[in-house]
Symmetry: none
């Protein structure tokens, strides 16, 4: 049987041991290794402490062909990793002129002068291959020692991801003969994990053993990941795709996309494709839906703008809602979200108007309008679709679930109008 | 010097290694240990694999006085922990009648019959102390072997937390003489880690050995964490607070808060305290600043609302900017953000108007207005403060850094107006 290439992940930092930071890096690294067929066999977290870091290196060297390290590389003095790596490999810190050049030009591009502390960041163990970090000052370091690859990266998530995507993953694919793996994600919204599982259980039972299914639920969404293992890319890809062709008719209303699609990117694609535009009136979601939409590059093509009439006094004044209606029906009502969606569509001359109003909590609830009650509406110029949600007691969760539900309502409205 | 009691955390489960689950348990455990003065020295994550689990036990036994284990205890066959614990301690699985009784009554209370699989959950290593898990079927197991406490708990977060709070933490406090620890976080914005480090290095050097400093940088912010160790709560609290009193004058312009304060919560506090309000005109930040502000409970007290005139056509129409100025100066210009801040302040009848306009990227840059160029402005009714930023090539990072800089500009404006 195929023996997978093994990897270890070592996360360095007192802040991880003291629980001040949630280690999302090692989860991301695990997922990326899984995607290329590398088996993560252990994760270790140690503090900014020489002995512990050395022990972790020692243990890793006995187990893995790849060791991915994050953290302990910033410019301040509590960062030790670089020195310990030099010791561990019997090497010493040397000035890497290219590293100095890179950190200097980063500072210049930001109109700042290089400090002595940052200058020190260009000193690296002599036996490493320097890897340029274009998005920060801490460099990447790649070592090949006794058949093991060691990669040291900063702990700042986007810097770590940059180095992995630009350098580490391509290099690992070159160095090792990795198995043929094909992943495909099917992304659903508007249905819970257990309902989904009930609908697709017969399909799931007929999957061959070399195709695995995983449910990856997150707030308001469930991703289904199919993973095929084989030794021929073409046949495993075809097999997985055929299984997905059988799956889709079962869950079609809930599927908004595949793989890297997100709900905002999928909606952006739908709107751009049709040459349509949207405008938002966000009350309880407070700008979050706009933020999700504008996170997508090129969103100015279909996103005209938004109004966040947060304080009730401005729902009438800024959006032109009727004060009588607000008085009689209240800000959190079907009538109000309908008017908000309509008015904002007209104001921004858009094809669709999307609105939200609700009680996010923790305060502000009443017996008839409890915390978690939210109304959303989508106006397409001909009719207005509304939905009433009863969410949770948690403000952050409610804001997120409101955004997911509103984006899904927009998605459904756009598709129904044009299919 | 005081030697802290050391703990290790071992998380067991293939799903953690493959990146399907984010390990929030070990962060929570770290925080709880930190609160009672136990020093977590290592966290290890291993899969559902006998050899790896044994290795982790072996390594932990050499290092820690307390070993907290989560996962690998459910009713299904890939759960090995219990058997491996029995092997490791040279013990064997035995029926614990009290455990059987407890799992049976849990099933009865849910109107279900005990299955054979769940019956097996009452077999535990003979040398353990059984600890009742009232919220699930997997029991807690407490071992005392050769001066080390071993505690095995299920991986389901609320079950693990139940066992920790009800049994483990009280027992640990009885078993060990724990030190007095006092943490304080000082939160800064608008200054990079290396500049901060340069400014405070003399102060840092004079810290006594029982007070430690850590830099915790994140995008646009740096947190400084002081941790004092001692045996008297009052004196260590006073000592740390005195050190902070010496620190603050050095970095006063950058400090926005302490401990759980966030930049949006600190600004909310400033505004609420003064009875002032703010309104936003967000172009390149696309609603993100509004989202950050409205994430704080009670923000409707000081946040009147926002306009996101994303498409250029609506900067004039919705906010009432002069088309001539937009034509001659462009949407990304000091003149435009000044007008945006002023107009939105008037529109929402607010004390402060805050605005952003820039090129988030990846597209849309020109040679004179490259990707990452952002203008922000804050109008207080008397004058308008502006700032020009040259950020990165990364859209997500640019949106975040714009928000941090704009919130900081608002903070500075509010403070200057009233101090």
């Amino acid at each position: 049987m195929y023996q997978p290439v093994k990897a270890e992940i070592i996360s360095i930092g007192d802040e991880l041991l003291y629980g001040q930071i949630l280690d999302t890096n090692s989860k991301w690294l695990s997922e990326e290794m899984d995607k290329i067929g590398v088996r993560v066999v252990r994760k270790t977290t140690v503090g900014d402490d020489k002995e512990s870091i050395l022990q972790a290196f020692m243990a890793a060297s006995q187990k893995a062909a790849i060791v991915l390290m994050t953290g302990g590389l910033g410019p301040t003095k509590d960062d030790l990793t670089k020195n310990i790596l030099a010791d561990f490999f019997g090497s010493q810190l040397t000035l890497f002129p290219k590293a100095l050049e890179d950190v200097r030009s980063l500072f210049e591009s930001r109109g700042k002068e290089l400090t002595a502390t940052n200058r020190n960041q260009a000193y690296l163990p002599a036996n490493c291959q320097y890897i340029h970090n274009a998005v920060g000052t801490a460099p990447g370091m790649w070592f090949e020692e006794q058949g093991t690859i060691w990669m040291s990266m900063p702990g700042v998530p986007y810097e770590m991801k940059y180095l992995m995507e630009k350098a580490v993953i391509p290099r690992l694919k070159e160095k090792f003969t990795l198995p043929v793996i094909y992943h495909k994600l099917v992304k659903t919204v508007g249905i819970g994990e257990s309902w989904l599982s009930d609908i697709i259980s017969a399909w799931e039972d007929q999957l061959p053993s070399h195709i695995r299914l995983a449910y990856l639920p997150s707030l308001g969404e469930v991703k289904l990941r199919l993973t095929g293992f084989g030794d021929d890319q073409e046949s495993i890809t075809r097999e997985v795709d055929e299984q997905i062709d059988r799956l889709l008719p079962l869950i079609e209303p809930y599927v908004y996309g595949f793989n890297h699609d997100t709900l905002p990117s999928a909606i952006g694609h739908l709107l751009a494709q049709r040459g349509k535009t949207v405008a938002l009136a966000e009350s309880c979601s407070g700008g979050y839906i706009s933020h999700l939409i504008t996170g997508i590059p090129g969103s100015s093509e279909y996103f005209n703008g938004a109004v966040v009439p947060y304080h009730n006094a401005f729902k009438a004044a800024v959006l032109g809602l009727s004060e009588d209606m607000l008085d009689s029906k209240g800000a959190v009502s079907e009538e109000t979200v309908i008017e908000m969606a309509k008015q904002v569509r007209l104001k921004f001359n858009a094809d669709y108007g999307l609105s939200s109003s609700g009680i996010s909590g923790p305060g502000g609830g009443t017996s008839t309008k409890p915390v978690g009650l939210v109304w959303i509406a989508c106006d397409d110029g001909h009719s207005c679709h509304t939905r009433k949600l009863q969410l949770t007691k948690d403000r952050t969760v409610n804001i997120h679930l409101t955004a997911v539900a509103a984006l899904n309502l927009l998605r459904e409205t756009v598709i129904q109008k044009s299919d």
